[in-house]
């Protein structure tokens, strides 16, 4: 499933302004077309998962290597390309382990202090919502079939 990682690894042109929607759209659409080309139509769930991986990869590449979560995402993707890793378990939050639950959710959250975790969460949320917006836009434009 390394087709997504071929979505280019050029550095973020404007690191100070944060991730740009245009770069994200460019990367994701390219990865998407690659997926559609390479995956056989029969394996539907497989394609869905590949697209999801493409989404995370394009998100991480757009965010750049300056963010701990993007590095963790790319690390995870590259490792998964070689071997099937176990799925992270998602426990519900209880009073005691809210911070732990957040660490599980945010990639790379295990190895940082609470302060950095909050910062990474904010950036991760920004990028995730950008990605969701993009995908929703694609779906909307694709589903506008004529009468």
């Amino acid at each position: 499933m390394d087709s997504k990682s071929s979505a280019c690894s050029s550095p973020n042109p404007n690191p100070t302004l944060g991730p740009s929607k245009l770069m994200l759209a460019f990367r994701f659409l390219r990865a998407l077309s690659l997926v559609r080309r390479t995956t056989p139509a029969s394996s539907r769930t497989c394609r869905g998962r590949r697209i999801e991986r493409a989404a995370y990869a394009s998100m991480a590449y757009t965010a750049g290597a300056s963010r701990a979560w993007s590095r963790a995402v790319l690390r995870r993707l590259h490792h998964r390309a070689r071997r099937r890793a176990v799925a992270p378990r998602r426990l519900s939050t209880t009073a005691g382990n809210r911070a732990e639950a957040l660490r599980r959710l945010v990639p790379g959250g295990g190895g940082m202090d609470y302060c950095t975790l909050l910062e990474e969460t904010a950036d991760y949320i920004k990028c995730l919502s950008m990605q969701v917006e993009l995908m929703q836009g694609i779906v909307d434009s694709a589903s506008s079939y004529g009468p």
């Binding site: 139509a41 769930t45 869905g48 998962r49 989404a55 939050t93 949320i125 694609i138």
Partner: protein, 450 residues
């Protein structure tokens, strides 16, 4: 006073060498020399014992304090030329005041370490972005405007900064600096501390003018913001002991507690950490919808839920991207399992005989969706069917079974098509996402996570 400026430069270099624990040095040593030359060119005997071994510290401290003063000016960076010009003229006076004050304090002791400490504190705490600004804005004229944000953040950061500044410099100053005598330091510190304290109610004016008492009576002393500072400066002994909780000998470099705050470095670091966390939580609050929770725990819960929601949305959207194919397959399976139950709950108009044909239609539509969404929709509409979210379909079918919705919602096919609707993208894409969410979340529960 050319020799004065040279001394200043030397002092700057020396202080730069010693600033190993204050990594953010506000200015490079050689940068503002020309500017400072201009400043000091007309100074009267304001820099007396510059040959004195202590004087490099004084000079550098004054310089640094001077920088603070400059930075206290309103940030007029749109016209750097004019601003720096004005700054030069104004700061000329301030430089003289500073110099006089230092000379006054020098009689009682070196004031530089506290000034240094003050600068270092300013550097270290909360001013990092401004420092970054100032560091990049190099050059004589521009350097000053780059420093402008510095003390503004000082005041705007609220009570934290002044406390920190007031409290910690002694501790940090002790190890690296040989501070021979700090009486004058106390006094100067007092003055500036008074200015800081007085700055709290004010906004950007706090370092506008240093509270320096000229021996000769300065023209600017009236402008001295130090109505609090001047008496503080004058009465150094009582001021020092008054501000501290207990009597601290003027010679000793001791952190002055501020209104019962702990002076321990640990608790200060802890407070810093808490403030940083509060900052980040505030930023997160703006990102997360419903982020108006005041309780930290519920705010964290909101954040966690929102992240989970966004990740789920990505998953769902990535599955629906394929023209609904991936989403349809598990959903069709679901429909077949819960078909009887659904139909049992459906309105009575649903004839049993229709079920098989409906199911065939459904499968056909699913296959068509894989190839071309548009043709699938047209096929459905040709059949008099439509796609709709499950919630809407169930609401309609439970409310009424009259086929009166303009041919759009025929009752019999409502249950199975609602399931099919859940599988594909409906015109109301957002609501389809919710239906998809419901279905695919259930369908995907056993599927391995990414």
């Amino acid at each position: 006073m050319q020799h004065g400026s040279r001394e200043v430069r030397g002092g700057m270099a020396a202080s730069a060498l010693h600033d190993d624990h204050g990594p953010q040095q506000i200015q490079n040593p050689g940068l503002h020399d020309d500017f400072f030359d201009q400043m000091l060119s007309g100074l009267p005997s304001a820099w007396p014992d510059l040959g004195n071994p202590k004087s490099p510290w004084d000079a550098s401290a004054a310089q640094k304090l001077f920088r603070i003063d400059l930075a206290g000016k309103p940030p007029d960076e749109s016209q750097p030329e004019a601003a720096t010009e004005g700054l030069r003229y104004a700061s000329y006076d301030e430089a003289t005041m500073l110099a006089s004050r230092l000379s006054q304090s020098q009689g009682s002791g070196g004031s530089s370490p506290t000034g240094e400490a003050m600068m270092l504190q300013l550097n270290n705490h909360h001013i990092l972005p401004a420092v970054g600004l100032s560091r990049t804005a190099v050059g004589g004229g521009v350097g000053e405007s780059g420093l402008l944000p510095l003390p503004l953040t000082l005041g705007s950061c609220g009570a934290a900064d002044p406390r920190i500044i007031v409290e910690t410099p002694r501790d940090e100053m002790d190890p690296p600096f040989e501070s021979p005598d700090h009486n004058g330091g106390e006094e100067l510190y007092n003055g500036l501390g008074g200015s800081i304290r007085a700055a709290q109610p004010g906004t950007g004016q706090h370092f506008h003018h240093p509270q320096l008492n000229r021996q000769q009576g300065a023209s600017m002393s009236s402008q001295n913001y130090g109505g609090a500072a001047a008496p503080a400066g004058v009465g150094q002994g009582p001021a020092a002991s008054a501000s501290s909780g207990g009597g601290t000998p003027p010679q000793k470099q001791k952190v002055r507690a501020r209104r019962g705050q702990a002076t321990d470095p640990h608790s200060i670091a802890e407070r810093l950490r808490r403030e940083r966390i509060a900052e980040r939580m505030k930023a997160l609050q703006e990102l997360v919808p419903n982020g108006n929770k005041t309780d930290k725990a519920s705010m964290l819960d909101e954040i966690i839920d929102y992240v989970k929601f966004l990740q789920l949305q990505v998953k769902v959207l990535s599955m629906s991207r394929l023209g609904g194919a991936a989403a349809v397959a598990p959903l069709v399976a679901d429909v077949s399992t819960e078909g009887p139950g659904g139909r049992a709950g459906a309105n009575g108009a649903a004839a049993g005989g229709n079920n098989d044909s409906l199911r065939a239609t459904e499968h056909r539509v699913a296959k068509m969706m894989e190839e071309d969404m548009g043709s699938a929709m047209q096929y459905l509409q040709g059949k008099g069917l439509c796609l709709m979210p499950i919630s809407l379909a169930s609401a309609i079918s439970s409310a009424a079974c009259r086929p009166s919705a303009g041919g759009l919602v025929p009752a019999p096919p409502a249950p199975p098509t609602s399931a099919a609707a859940a599988a594909a993208e409906s015109p109301a894409a957002s609501s389809s996402a919710s239906a998809l969410t419901v279905q695919s979340a259930a369908a995907d529960a056993t599927a391995p996570k990414r």
